[in-house]
């Protein structure tokens, strides 16, 4: 079983939840930009949350499934179509042998995940299958997917086989059959406001900059990628300039170089940074920023560390609940 890349589109890479344990050697964590959509995509097809899946960026990607396959599409709505018919997101979908799935372009969001039951059979590099394109590490041959690539699939488990069988029965003359159950997650992705905890150097910014950061709008510039988003908007100035010792940064750290334009560090961020950190995006809101694309506008809303932690807990509970519900569903469907 395998997936063939007919067209890679703007950017398609194999991702998982990231490469942990090597930041001490400067190795970038990487992994899915919108890890919540990614995890649910895997859960929907019966995989472990961290199984490798394809991250599709914005448009143009076309994939062919060489055998009957159970898949799910989650994340941004990039208008996935099979034979001209839209494919619903956030649910298990059975696709027939030789079916071609294409992404026509963004309706909402910026990145979609295609998870396949069983995951991809590719080697792990430093405990991860995620592609770090800049470092030429992991994924499929350490690079973004190209036309003609053939990615082998791993074996499906009992859950996947059962759901596959159920959906296969629903299939009429079409090339695919979607489940009538889904997880309503897109409501977490389409916000314009991102919640932020004050960063370690917040107090070093001028009073004006502190106010501007939480009150004004910022725009995602074209110099944005999986490593980070550069924003334009009010220029955020320090009370007085100072050189900071490089220190660890995290997914969602907002740092400000001396030109005053903030940079949001994302999946492929460097492990350490030396620019003052004005804020840290709450993990629960990382999917919102990860689904924004150049030109989109964002506002930051201040929350406390306590609130950020509570949001984290709620989101984790919700994912666990969905896992349980899907397991029960699998038992009850025939």
């Amino acid at each position: 079983m395998s997936v063939h890349i007919i067209r890679p589109g703007l950017l398609a890479t194999i991702q998982d939840l990231g490469r942990y344990g090597f930041q001490q050697y400067g190795v970038v964590v990487g992994g899915a930009m919108d890890s919540f959509s990614f995890r649910l995509g895997n859960v929907l097809v019966g995989n472990e949350e961290g199984e490798a899946a394809i991250e599709v960026t914005m448009m143009g990607t076309s994939l062919q499934f060489k055998e009957d396959t159970l898949i799910s599409i989650t994340g941004g709505n990039l208008n996935p179509v099979i034979d001209g018919s839209p494919v619903p997101l956030w649910r298990p979908v059975f696709v027939k042998k030789d079916t071609v799935l294409s992404f026509a372009g963004c309706q909402s969001g910026c990145r979609a995940y295609v998870a396949v039951a069983g995951g991809f059979s590719i080697p792990s590099v430093m405990n991860s299958k995620s592609t770090y394109v800049r470092g030429e590490i992991g994924g499929f041959k350490g690079r973004a997917l190209k036309e003609g690539d053939v990615i082998p699939l791993a074996e499906e488990n009992a859950f996947s086989l059962k759901v596959k069988k159920v959906l296969q029965k629903k299939l009429k003359n079409d090339s695919f059959a979607a489940a009538d159950w889904y997880v309503p997650f897109e409501r977490y992705l389409n916000g314009k406001v991102v919640r932020v905890v004050k960063g370690a150097e917040f107090e070093e910014f001028s009073e004006l900059a502190q106010k501007q950061f939480f009150e004004q709008e910022f725009q995602i510039t074209p110099q944005s990628d999986r490593m980070g988003y550069r924003l334009s908007g009010p220029s955020l100035q320090l009370k007085q300039s100072f050189e900071l010792l490089s220190e660890a940064v995290a997914n969602g750290t907002i740092q400000v170089p001396s030109d005053g334009n903030p940079i949001v560090l994302l999946a492929d961020r460097q492990t350490t940074g030396g620019y003052p950190r004005i804020g840290q995006i709450a993990a629960a809101d990382l999917p919102i920023i990860a689904q924004m694309k150049p030109g989109d506008r964002v506002r930051f809303k201040e929350i406390s560390l306590h609130e950020a932690e509570q949001l984290y807990m709620e989101r984790e509970k919700e994912i666990k609940q969905i896992r349980t519900a899907l397991l029960l569903k699998e038992r009850s469907v025939e």
């Binding site: 090597f22 400067g26 590099v125 590490i137 010792l245 995290a250 001396s258 030396g274 709450a282």
Partner: protein, 244 residues
């Protein structure tokens, strides 16, 4: 300048899932020894919910999963940050600083200036020196590796002469070629892979500092001593040919 008492250990959150233990705000071997001691300790004994750590010049950042921390050490009134803080405080009480061993010296060949070092003139001008003086000063010191970070295998080096310090670029470059040698403030380093960055670039090395296929992917490790050896453009090209 923001200055804090370097004796004082501070713990601060980096979001809801990480905590930074800061031993000071200066680059010196006394503080760096503490960083190494905590890193060693974390490698030997971790805690439930621990993910990994990132050591830096004067700090160690510990990443954890708040959900697991709360589940395992479940105290309702305490946040996961507070719980991890207590665990780390206990670790700090019993830190053992390692005996110093003879450091390994690693020679890194560098072709200075020209297309390889577009900011060499800026660094020279900023410090009222000639470019040759900058090269001489940069290549005549031995630099201790304080940490590996920022990018795979990127060494942060101490010991840069005050005479050739230079501020970071006001806006980082979107792409810096692999092997670029740069200066930022009182730090110098080498970019092992092509990446965006804000350092002033003074030269380039043909040596690969990051080898993902090895068990220890970084050529340099904290504690090594680095020496930069000036080479010509011809020697740079010969070195590259030998690699292939």
């Amino acid at each position: 300048m923001m200055k804090k008492n370097s004796e004082e250990i501070q713990m601060k959150p980096l979001g809801e899932a990480a905590i930074t233990v800061q031993f000071g705000t200066e680059i010196n071997s006394f503080i760096n020894k503490k960083v190494k001691a905590l890193a060693t300790k974390l490698q030997r004994e971790s805690f439930s919910g621990f993910i990994e750590f990132t050591p830096a010049f004067a700090s160690v950042t510990i990443f954890f999963d708040p959900f697991i921390v709360k589940q395992v050490y479940g105290e309702i009134e305490k946040s996961s940050f507070q719980i991890v803080q207590v665990i780390l405080e206990r670790m700090l009480e019993t830190l053992v600083e390692e005996e110093e061993s003879t450091p390994r010296i690693v020679d890194i060949p560098v072709c200075y200036g020209g297309d390889f070092g577009p900011d060499l003139d800026f660094v020279a001008g900023h410090n009222h020196l000639s470019t040759d003086e900058v090269i001489h000063l940069h290549a005549s010191a031995e630099y201790p590796v304080y940490m590996i970070g920022f990018a795979p295998g990127f060494p942060y080096l101490g010991g840069l002469s005050e005479k050739i310090n230079a501020p970071r670029r006001s806006s980082p470059r979107t792409s810096i070629p692999a092997g670029s040698v740069g200066i930022a403030g009182s730090q110098t380093g080498v970019y092992p892979i092509s990446t965006p960055g804000g350092w002033q670039l003074i030269g380039r090395t043909p040596m690969a500092l990051f080898r993902p296929d090895r068990d220890q992917p970084s050529v340099l490790s904290a504690g090594d001593l680095v020496k930069f050896v000036p080479i010509t453009k011809e020697e740079y090209e010969q070195y590259q040919e030998r690699l292939q």
